[in-house]
């Protein structure tokens, strides 16, 4: 019996998000954030989202500037070496968004606990800081065995998780390339914590391709709701060995966010004024995309 396909268009996938949902985003430090999905969320005019991640930047800053966000929950939002996330700063200082503060490990632990089916995980991170004061999901407790004080990190169960990966087959098995940077388990934890899991991938591939290297499957199809093909779907963030940061574009973004009007123009030019992700790529242009591309061959 053939399995039905889990492939959807990006627009269809994003339509699964409802206003007010808790939406978790994969990636960190301008690496492999699901930017194509982020832009589609803005285009579809989603509202009052509670966005959660563990280290974020242009992804959440863009959503905030796009008017999509009511609550932000992560350890960091900034534009890396370029500077501050100014949509985030303006919204925070105006009291337009609620902020739930974390360290990287407490943010990650919310997803980690949920992905393990646990109600909480203990940590020492955050003790003695202001974090537990401003974060209702961090509560001190006493270890029943040693009597030590620990911080309990509450599991988070997002309505939707969105991560960006390298490949997936039609059944929804998601893989990363053999060449990849750093640890990738947070993205899997984020996916496993959520009720609905959207994965955007650089390329939908054949079952043969997935079966050729099963060890590279980071999410089996049972953990995935739908997959959508979005080549350069992390742009302008980097994507492991495939493509580098688009610093020129990030710089343009950063400069545009200096003012509300500047950002509005940028949003119209790169997000709302474009029909879809492919139109965005056409606009970014071949020179930039090929300039940041490091590995385009499908051969290992």
């Amino acid at each position: 019996m053939t399995q039905p396909t889990k492939v959807r268009s990006l627009a269809e996938a994003v339509r699964l998000i409802s206003d007010g949902d808790v939406v978790a985003f994969g990636g960190h430090t301008a690496r492999r954030h699901p930017m194509a999905a982020v832009r589609e969320i803005v285009r579809q005019g989603k509202r009052r989202l509670h966005v959660a991640g563990w280290n974020n930047g242009i992804d959440m800053d863009l959503l905030i500037g796009g008017g999509c966000v009511a609550t932000v929950e992560t350890s960091y939002i900034g534009i890396g070496s370029l500077g501050l996330a100014r949509n985030y700063r303006r919204a925070a200082e105006a009291g337009a968004i609620r902020i739930i503060e974390h360290s990287e490990t407490t943010a990650m632990d919310r997803f980690r606990a949920a992905s393990m089916g646990l109600p909480l995980l203990p940590t020492k991170t955050g003790l003695g800081t202001d974090l537990p004061r401003y974060n209702p999901h961090l509560k001190p407790f006493t270890d029943p065995f040693t009597g030590e004080t620990w911080l309990a990190v509450e599991a988070i169960r997002p309505d939707v998780a969105i991560i960006h990966a390298h490949t997936a087959d039609e059944k929804g098995n998601v893989q990363l390339d053999p060449q990849r940077w750093h640890d990738n388990s947070p993205d899997a934890m984020i996916a496993r914590s959520a009720k609905t899991v959207i994965v955007t991938v650089e390329q939908i591939v054949s079952e043969d391709a997935v079966m050729a290297r099963p060890i590279d499957t980071i999410l089996p199809r049972s953990d995935v709701t739908c997959v959508a093909e979005a080549p350069y779907g992390a742009h302008p963030c980097c994507c492991d060995a495939r493509y580098d940061y688009d610093m020129e574009h990030l710089r343009r973004y950063y400069e545009a966010t200096a003012t509300v009007e500047g950002f509005a123009d940028w949003l119209a030019e790169f997000v709302t004024g474009l029909e879809d992700h492919l139109a965005y790529l056409d606009k970014i242009g071949a020179r930039s995309l090929m300039g940041i591309s490091m590995k385009r061959t499908v051969r290992p």
């Binding site: 396909t5 390329q203 139109a279 071949a286 385009r296 051969r299």
Partner: protein, 311 residues
């Protein structure tokens, strides 16, 4: 990098090696890995009076013929698989603008091999007793081939003289700055062309770090010692394909094929896609990045995957 000098140069600098009146050979065959970006740049520059020493690089030959850049052609076969004849090349021949010297595939390969190996001739069995060796084109028939007796008394065989192209233009998969070049899949006549030609210019999809190619040295089709210049041209074979990267653009090939019915529609096609484009990047943007990405092949199947993959 061992030599300390990079062979990577901009496109225009690499093509300065191709002068009017030179002999040219190009890599690739059928709808695969032909150096089309380099060909377009040569056409834009207005290259003239070329002598092609080709085997089956039909798209390069057709485009250069359509641009009026070809004077003579040594070759085996120019035809568009799945479409039909190379109309502008054929028109050039039928109107006497392009002079021809025919060969079989293996005959052309042997002539290039002779040149590459520094031999006075190469013996082969093919072409014997046919009009390929008995009817002269522009070449003195006695200087092209002879039917000779083996000096060892063990039979007779055709001997062909060498053909040494001034320049080989080749499109491949990847290269490093030193100039080592790799190509996946079927490799046409690139090895023989690179050995034979005086100057070898290679455009590639990707430039890789120095440690990559030595990890799979058996995939290296041209070591740096055979390469004079490397140009980084992603999608540089478009509208032909590159194995392991992208398929040929069948829709674009069809559009050209239709336009090639007449010289005026061909000229219009070239105006739009060659002369009105400042460089390779503007060509790619005129095609649209999304169109190029739709040509990507599946890692396992080697071709565009049919079935569900819409964006």
């Amino acid at each position: 990098m061992r030599s300390g000098i990079s062979k990577i140069v901009p496109l225009e600098a690499a093509l300065s090696a191709v002068e009017d009146g030179m002999s040219l050979t190009a890599g690739g065959f059928a709808h695969s890995h032909q150096p089309m970006a380099m060909t377009r740049a040569l056409i834009r520059r207005g290259v003239r009076r070329l002598t092609l020493m080709g085997v089956a690089e039909c798209w390069v030959a057709e485009f250069l013929a359509a641009a009026g850049a070809v004077e003579k052609a040594y070759f085996s076969n120019f035809m568009f698989e799945g479409f039909g004849r190379c109309r502008r090349f054929v028109e050039g021949v039928e109107t006497g603008r392009i002079a021809t010297e025919d060969h079989s595939h293996f005959g052309m390969i042997c002539r290039l091999q002779a040149a590459g190996l520094g031999l006075p001739f190469m013996p082969l069995r093919a072409m014997t007793a046919t009009d390929i060796v008995e009817v002269a084109g522009f070449e003195d028939i006695t200087q092209k081939s002879r039917f000779i007796a083996s000096p060892f008394g063990n039979g007779r065989v055709t001997a062909v003289s060498p053909l040494k192209p001034d320049v080989a233009i080749i499109h491949a998969a990847r290269a490093d700055a030193a100039g080592n070049v790799q190509l996946f899949g079927a490799t046409s006549v690139i090895e023989e062309q690179a050995r034979a030609a005086s100057t070898v210019i290679v455009s590639v999809e990707e430039i890789v770090e120095a440690d990559v190619i030595p990890r799979q040295p058996e995939l290296t089709i041209l070591p740096a010692l055979l390469v004079d210049a490397v140009v980084h041209l992603p999608f540089g074979a478009h509208p032909t394909g590159v194995f392991g990267y992208y398929e040929h653009d069948a829709a674009y090939l069809g559009e050209y094929y239709a336009a090639s019915r007449r010289q005026d529609s061909t000229d219009a096609f070239f105006r739009r896609w060659i002369h009105d484009q400042a460089d390779h990047w503007s060509y790619l943007d005129a095609l649209l990045v999304s169109r190029l990405l739709a040509l990507r092949v599946d890692p396992a199947l080697g071709t565009i995957m049919t079935g569900q993959r819409h964006v």
